[in-house]
């Protein structure tokens, strides 16, 4: 029976997560930030699937489904916010939105 070492799956998830983090931290365009966030969420979903595969059980997949739902809701709200922001400030630069400074 062919098999993949578990760490390879997790390493892939880790790399994707780290890349997503880099994206969130570097990009100033809020759409890119949101996209990078999706990458990170997706990476964590991947980790769950790997775990599901490890235990050969469906629980991990269900968790992935939950994450998927969460991502959908989050994107919907996030995009709504982007639209609002663009309407008010005519920019997608998140640096502009710094009124909450202490």
């Amino acid at each position: 029976m062919e098999s993949i070492p578990i760490e390879h799956g997790l390493i892939l998830a880790g790399i994707l997560f780290a890349l997503g983090l880099v994206g969130v931290l570097t990009r100033r365009n809020i759409v890119f930030v949101l996209m990078s966030l999706e990458i990170m969420i997706n990476a964590s979903g991947l980790a769950f699937i790997v775990a599901a595969s490890r235990w050969e059980h469906a629980d991990g997949q269900i968790m992935f489904l939950m994450i998927l739902t969460l991502a959908a809701a989050e994107v919907a709200v996030g995009l709504g916010l982007i639209i609002q922001m663009y309407r008010r400030y005519h920019t997608v630069d998140i640096n502009v939105l710094s009124q909450m400074k202490g």
Partner: protein, 616 residues
Amino acid sequence: MQDLIWLLPTYPLLGFLSLVLTSGNLPKKVVGAIGAGSIGLSFLTAAVIAYQFLGSGETHLVVEMWTWMAVGNFTPGFSFYLDGLAVVMMLIITGVGFLIHLYSAGFMLDDPSYSRFFAYMNLFVASMLVLVLADNLLLLYLGWEGVGLCSYLLIGFWYEKPENGYAARKAFITTRVGDTSMAIGLFLLFAELGTLNIQEMLHAAETQWAVGSGLAVAASLLLLGGAVGKSAQLPLQTWLPDAMAGPTPISALIHAATMVTAGVYLVARTHVLFELAPNVQLLLAWIGLITLLMAGFTAMTQHDIKRILAYSTISQIGYMFLGLGVGAWSASVFHLMTHAFFKALLFLAAGTVIHSLHHEHSIFKMGGKRKQLPIAFASFMIGSLALAAFPFTSGYFSKDEILIAALEMEGPGMILWLGGVLGAFLTGIYSFRLVFVVFFGESKGHHEEKEVAGLSMATPLIILMVFALFGGWIQIPVDAVFSHGEVHEEHHISNLMHAIMIVVPLLGIGVSYLFFMSKTFSVEKLMANPLATRLHGFWFSGWGMDALYSFLFVRPFVFLAQVNKNDLIDAVYALLVEITRVAHVMIARTQTGQLRWYALSIGGGVVLLITLGVVL
């Protein structure tokens, strides 16, 4: 009639209240009548009570008014206790007090605060009567503090001058130090003996404490603290000379005749305690001796007429302490009485002098005044003779008794006696220095002054002159009070000693005559010697005690208070606030509002947490 003893303090108290409540709106004649009249009433009552009491043959009499406070077994009452000692004291206070009030009615006539003056004076007499008539120490303490308060108010009577206020505060606070010691003594006595009633307490002490026991020593020492404060003895004597800032009748009444002798009264009243602590009693004698000598030397150097008298008062009270210390209780009380006569006389006469010379205090700016001020001169002459214990004046008898008692004492009696005799010598010098400089010699300045002496001022002087001269023949009825402490026996004093005691004061007067009257010796020449100058300066400053206390207590206290004006503890809380505020500013700075910065922080936090998780 004797049950009406409570009327004694009540009259002056009513006088005080009526003067206060009318707050100076009464005409001066009425004020004077109330002020002096209330004391006069008191004196009459006191005289009647004394007559009946002495006639009844009772040793003591207790009049209970009401229970002051009853807490557990602590039940001091507002009760008065009358015995021979109290009779003597109350007669002195009301009698001399009345004379001085009478004198004041004339003396203070020009003062705008006439009514306030008499109000305080009346309050003083009331307090003083409570002090001497109290049957328990707490009530005595009430009178004790009351007279201290009145002393404060009257020293600072002319409050516009800050130095008067300073002198008043100094007097109050210095005596308060002694009072606090006395209060602690009260706590101790109550804690150990379970009562503050003087007679019960003394009885309990006698039965419970052995002679020389630690508790007796502690209790008597603490009471002694109160006594030395009030009576201006070493080491708390510094306030009295400054207290002369008050009007002169005050000096006569409070700072010569009555209040300052309260310490003597206290010790005499609780003499049983002191007999239980012989060492403390000896200390009493030494305090008296040292004080009388120090004050005697200082008195020789002063040139303010009232300060001379003040130091002489300290010195005379030193004699009384010496007498108490050697166990001559009744002699001390006797001296207390005669001293009240002649010192009141001297002060009142000094008041006349000062008043007549437009508030001139320095004796060296006076001179040759015997013609201009005949009554004052006569008063001074008689007063000084009594003060210097000129034979057969009042002071002679009382001082003699004290010195004889010292001589008879075992142990250090001889030294005490010698010191006392030396003191008498000094007394002769300084008292007649005053007389010679002021009333003899060439007249200086103020040529045209006439003596200010209305009837109300002259009468008391004349009466006091009589008492100062002949007061020594009065028999004070205190034998019953001190009966078990004193052994009455014939004095085995050699004639030589008697002669010495008579001659030494005369010698003093003689020396004084040579220096200040005939100018056979010159003070200037003496002062040319640098040692003498330095000594003079040292004595003049009251042996540097003021400077010492200022250095030891006043300045450190003021310094500490100023340093800590803003309350160090508050700084601790302020620091806490400051730390919070700084932290707030620092953390607020991290709130940039930049989304990416927040994300970075979260990322960093995660890294940190994982690191911690791995490491730990």
